[in-house]
Every structure is written in structure tokens, then in C-alpha cells.
């Protein structure tokens, strides 16, 4: 399977599932079990990832789980679209939150978004802190690098 432009544009994260939805949902989650059940559910919204994109250049290093990331820059709208995959459910869920915040934005808007602050707000900062070797930080770094490069082009 190869990714089509439509696969990128159809990604519901950041489009149908919006940051306000996630922030609202977190308000009503009482304990860790509910929070993580919700995170796991969000991960299930990650669209299918193309098999032929699982190559070294799309691999995000520094993860205990395997993480893959590809992008599409839509010249007409000037927006950057992302697809992410992981074999770990929690990482998938946290990647979904990152996509809800960053997917389908212009590089300028993307670079202006503070993911650390968002994770702090959701009380998930530990997962993105430099002390955790789960690769989320590397994932965000890679997305920001992409945005910076695309923005220059």
C-alpha cells in the first residue's frame, strides 16, 4: 500500500477530532484508567500507515517502540499533513494528541504551537520530557524540522 494525497487529507486527527475536543474530554476523565483508556482510543484513530513507507528515512529514532512518520505538503493550501504509526498503543495515542495539535497546519502555525505546554496542561508532560526515552520528543522534533524546512521552501 502506498499513501495517496487523499490519505493525508482524510486523516481525522486535527480535522474531525480537534484540540478542543481532546481538552474537553480530559476535563471529564477522573482517574488514570479513564485517561489512558481515552488515550488508547485516540490512538485507534491513526489512519492505516502505508507498508512501503516503513523505511529507514521515515523511522523515528530514540523510541522503545517502532515509530514511523511521513508528511505531505499541500502547496495549494500551504498546509503540512502528517501520518504517524507505532506498534505501541500508548505511543499511538500520544502521537494522536500531537497530530490533533499539529496536523494540517501551515508551517508557521505549527512552529508557533507549544507542544510541551499542551502536554503539561494534559498532565502528560512526563511522556514528552527528555528523561523518557519513548521517542515522543524525537517525533515532535522531526515534525518541527519538517515544518521549518517546508516553510523555507
Amino acid at each position: 500500500m502506498t499513501a495517496s494525497v487523499q490519505d493525508f487529507l482524510n486523516n481525522p486527527l486535527g480535522k474531525d477530532t480537534r484540540l478542543e475536543d481532546v481538552l474537553d474530554a480530559f476535563e471529564f476523565l477522573d482517574d488514570w484508567e479513564e485517561r489512558y483508556a481515552y488515550i488508547i482510543d485516540l490512538g485507534k484513530q491513526l489512519p492505516a500507515f502505508p507498508d512501503d513507507a516503513r523505511v529507514e528515512e521515515n523511522y523515528v529514532h530514540g523510541c522503545q517502540s517502532q515509530v514511523w512518520l511521513i508528511h505531505h505538503y499541500d502547496e495549494a493550501s500551504g498546509k503540512l499533513y502528517l501520518l504517524i504509526d507505532s506498534d505501541a498503543m500508548i505511543v499511538r495515542g500520544l502521537a494522536a494528541i500531537i497530530l490533533v495539535a499539529l496536523n494540517g497546519k501551515t508551517p508557521r502555525d505549527l512552529l508557533a504551537t507549544d507542544i510541551d505546554e499542551l502536554f503539561e496542561q494534559l498532565d502528560l508532560f512526563r511522556h514528552i520530557s527528555p528523561t523518557r526515552g519513548n521517542g515522543l520528543r524525537a517525533m515532535v522534533g522531526k515534525i518541527r524540522d519538517l515544518a521549518a524546512l517546508t516553510g523555507q521552501a
Binding site: 484508567e33 489512558y36 488508547i40 522503545q64 517502540s65 506498534d87 505501541a88 498503543m89 500508548i90
Partner: protein, 417 residues
């Protein structure tokens, strides 16, 4: 008539986990709002008050550099430092303190030996390791192999996680120069029959090294009975401080090896026309050593020595037995490493869950385990897994904590169902 036995058991207090736990202040804390359940002892064990106090006292009362001999503090520091070496010698039952080299840990000890043996290795020589080695007992040999033209050859592992003795016998050959083998697998908990392996290697004149990092927290090795040439372990896994470990080596072999690093302490005389080496063990101890850490390690071994070791071993076995009994209570859970002789280490996977998911959600419940490849990627490849979750127990863990682990795993399992 039973009075006598009662009196005897009263003299040697029965193993009391609650009392033992009071010796480890770090255990009495909450993590994520839950009482800490520390089951990552294989990665690093916690430290008893005896160790904390010994290091504190060392710095408050006797710190100075060692082996300088010009003043009283220096004498005190040297006495404490060399006293710790004697404690390690006694712990391993080495013949002489000349044979106990301080290192930063097991990793540095193996690197020291690999570099020291390099001049004796030729193209086509073989270094026998096993598929269950920690990277620390693979990579230093690969680096030396690349330099000398020698080859690193792995002994196979059985699906149950035991060393394949047929594979061992078929690979131990005329080209074998070194056998470097772990005493206990950090992933599987398997206790390897190292005495038997060493005997077979010795019969062919092969030099033997045992990686004891995961063994010493659970039992006391006897290097003379094992008849190994080298034995390495790390302080932090045996309830001592980080940053120090020890290498036992037979004096004749250590004498024949070149120094590992150059600097102060390891020399007898330095001049620009030539430098001569200090005697054992100092020849291998360049620079100011980790003095307080050596003192702390000595205190850790003394602490272990005053425990009732058979009772400790029985308590550890009871933890593993309970864990094994509870495996069925978590659907899809499978143990990796089912050797008949194991230390209390339980690697496992749960169908449909990534090890990192398990680790993250156990942490939410105050339970610390290790997840990942455990620095044993060849073994992960053998089992076809990206990693495992590993609960590794120490004598201060309780049966109740084992139960909590499984209750937590059941909860996680439901979360993903």
C-alpha cells in the same frame, strides 16, 4: 524437645521482609499516588542504610586520597579502601587481594580483560560467548575481534531459555581461546552451569571469564571452586553504590596482561626513557579511584553477609513461585525464560500489548519494572520480540507486591480489551 530448635531459630532471627524493608529507606514512598513497588532490581538494586551511612561517614570522617601515606586522613581513607577490597576478596573467595581490581563496573571489567587479552589473540581465533549475553559481554569482544582478526561465536539458547549444551560442545573447539559467559541471564534469570562449562573449557586450555553482574545479588560465587580465570560484577546491582565494580582475575593472567589505562597510581617509576608498572592490583587502577564507592560496596557486602542467606534465597524463590502461579490469571501472558534453575527474574509478554505500554501503565500504578531489549538484542531476535517486560525481584520485595503486580496487569489487560 522442640525447645532446642526454638532456641536456635530465636538466635538467628527468621527472615522478616517488613524489618528488612526498613533498612531500605527509598522503598517507603508513594509514586503516582500509590505505594512504590520496586521490581526493577535487575537494572539496579536499592541501597540499605548501612551503605548510605558508610559513605556518609567516610566523607565526614576520613576522606582523603589513598596510598599517599603522608598524613592521618590518608591512612584512614586507605585503610577503609583496602578494607573494602578485602571484603570483596572474601565475598568471592579469591586467594589474594592482588587478584581484586576495582573497575567502574562489570562493563569496564570486561573491556579491561578483552583489551588485556588482545595481544594473545590471532586471526581465526574464536571467542565463545552465548546468545543470552548482555551487550557488555559481546561488544568488547567484537571490538577486540575487529582489531585482531579473531571471531566472536555465540552458543545457542534453547526455546526455554537454557544454554544449549550440545551447541556449546560443538562450538568449543581447537580455535577457541576465550570463553566469556554470563553466570545468570539478565533477561531470562537462567543460572548457567558455569562450573561445568569452565571445566570443559579448561580441559582445552581456554581462558574463561564469567559475567557475574546478575548472579551476585542472589548468591555468592566462589571463584576458586569455579576455577574461572576472571569474574566480574557491579556494585550497584548488589545493593552498593553506582560507579564501582570489581574484577577478579588469576594473578598469573593479570601479570601477563598489559595495563588497561595509563596514569597515576598504576606506575612504579616514570621517566622519559621508560616507565615501569606498579604491582597488582594497582597496575590496573590508573587515577584516583572511587574511594567512597568502594567503601559503600564493602558495606553492602557486609550487610548481605549478616543476613540469613538460605532464608533470603527461600524468600526470593517464594516470590518467583507466586509470580509463576499467577501467570494464568492474566489472559495472553507468557513467560520468556522457563529454565529449571532461575533467579527471581520474570521476563514476559502479553498478547497484543507492547512492552512499553505495560511499563507505562504499571508506572501509573506505582510499579517499577524494566521494558525494552535489556541490552540483549541477539536474545530478543532469537525470541522474535522487540523487547520484553521484566519484573526482577529482590529479597526486600513481598508476596503482597507480587500480588499487586498481577492485579495491575489484569487491570491493564482489561484496559486494552
Amino acid at each position: 524437645m522442640t525447645d532446642l530448635s526454638v532456641a536456635n531459630s530465636a538466635n538467628k532471627p527468621a527472615f522478616d521482609a517488613a524489618a528488612i524493608r526498613r533498612d531500605f529507606p527509598i522503598l517507603a514512598q508513594q509514586v503516582n499516588g500509590k505505594p512504590l513497588v520496586y521490581l526493577d532490581n535487575g537494572a539496579s538494586a536499592q541501597k540499605p542504610l548501612a551503605v548510605l551511612d558508610a559513605m556518609d561517614r567516610y566523607y565526614r570522617e576520613m576522606h582523603s586520597n589513598v596510598h599517599r601515606g603522608a598524613h592521618t586522613l590518608g591512612d584512614r581513607a586507605t585503610a577503609a579502601f583496602e578494607g573494602a577490597r578485602e571484603i570483596v576478596r572474601d565475598f568471592l573467595n579469591a586467594a589474594s587481594t592482588r587478584e581484586i581490581i576495582w573497575t567502574r563496573g562489570t562493563t569496564e571489567a570486561i573491556n579491561l580483560v578483552a583489551n588485556g587479552l588482545a595481544p594473545q589473540l590471532r586471526e581465526g581465533d574464536e571467542i565463545l560467548v552465548s546468545q543470552m549475553e548482555h551487550h557488555a559481554n559481546i561488544v568488547p569482544w567484537q571490538m577486540i575481534a575487529a582489531r585482531t582478526g579473531a571471531r566472536v561465536v555465540p552458543v545457542q539458547v534453547t526455546p526455554g531459555g537454557e544454554l544449549d549444551l550440545e551447541s556449546f560442545d560443538s562450538l568449543l573447539g581447537d580455535r577457541t581461546r576465550v570463553l566469556a559467559i554470563t553466570h545468570v541471564s539478565n533477561v531470562l534469570g537462567t543460572v548457567n552451569p558455569v562450573a561445568e562449562l569452565i571445566a570443559r573449557a579448561k580441559a582445552r586450555g581456554v581462558i574463561t571469564l564469567v559475567d557475574g553482574a546478575q548472579a551476585v545479588p542472589h548468591f555468592q560465587p566462589d571463584v576458586q571452586a569455579l576455577d574461572c580465570d576472571f569474574y566480574a560484577f557491579s556494585s550497584h546491582k548488589v545493593f552498593g553504590p553506582t560507579g564501582i565494580g570489581a574484577l577478579y582475575g588469576k594473578a598469573a593472567l593479570l601479570e601477563a596482561m598489559p595495563p588497561y589505562q595509563g596514569g597515576g597510581e598504576m606506575i612504579e617509576r616514570v621517566s622519559f626513557s621508560g616507565t615501569t608498572w606498579n604491582v597488582l592490583p594497582y597496575k590496573f587502577e590508573a587515577g584516583t579511584p572511587a574511594i567512597a564507592e568502594a567503601v559503600g560496596l564493602g558495606a553492602a557486602i557486609k550487610y548481605l553477609g549478616q543476613l540469613d542467606r538460605p532464608a533470603v534465597e527461600a524468600a526470593e524463590n517464594a516470590l518467583l513461585d507466586r509470580a509463576n502461579q499467577l501467570v494464568e490469571s492474566v489472559p495472553g501472558m507468557e513467560i520468556i525464560g522457563t529454565a529449571s534453575h532461575k533467579v527471581p527474574v520474570m521476563s514476559f509478554k502479553i498478547a497484543g500489548l507492547h512492552p512499553s505500554d505495560i511499563g507505562t501503565l504499571l508506572d501509573q500504578q506505582g510499579i517499577a519494572i524494566r521494558t525494552g531489549h535489556h541490552c540483549a538484542m541477539p536474545l530478543m531476535d532469537f525470541y522474535g520480540v522487540p523487547g520484553t517486560a521484566r519484573a526482577s525481584f529482590a529479597f526486600y520485595n513481598t508476596l503482597d507486591e507480587v500480588d499487586q503486580l498481577f492485579t495491575a496487569l489484569q487491570k491493564i489487560q482489561r484496559l486494552f480489551a
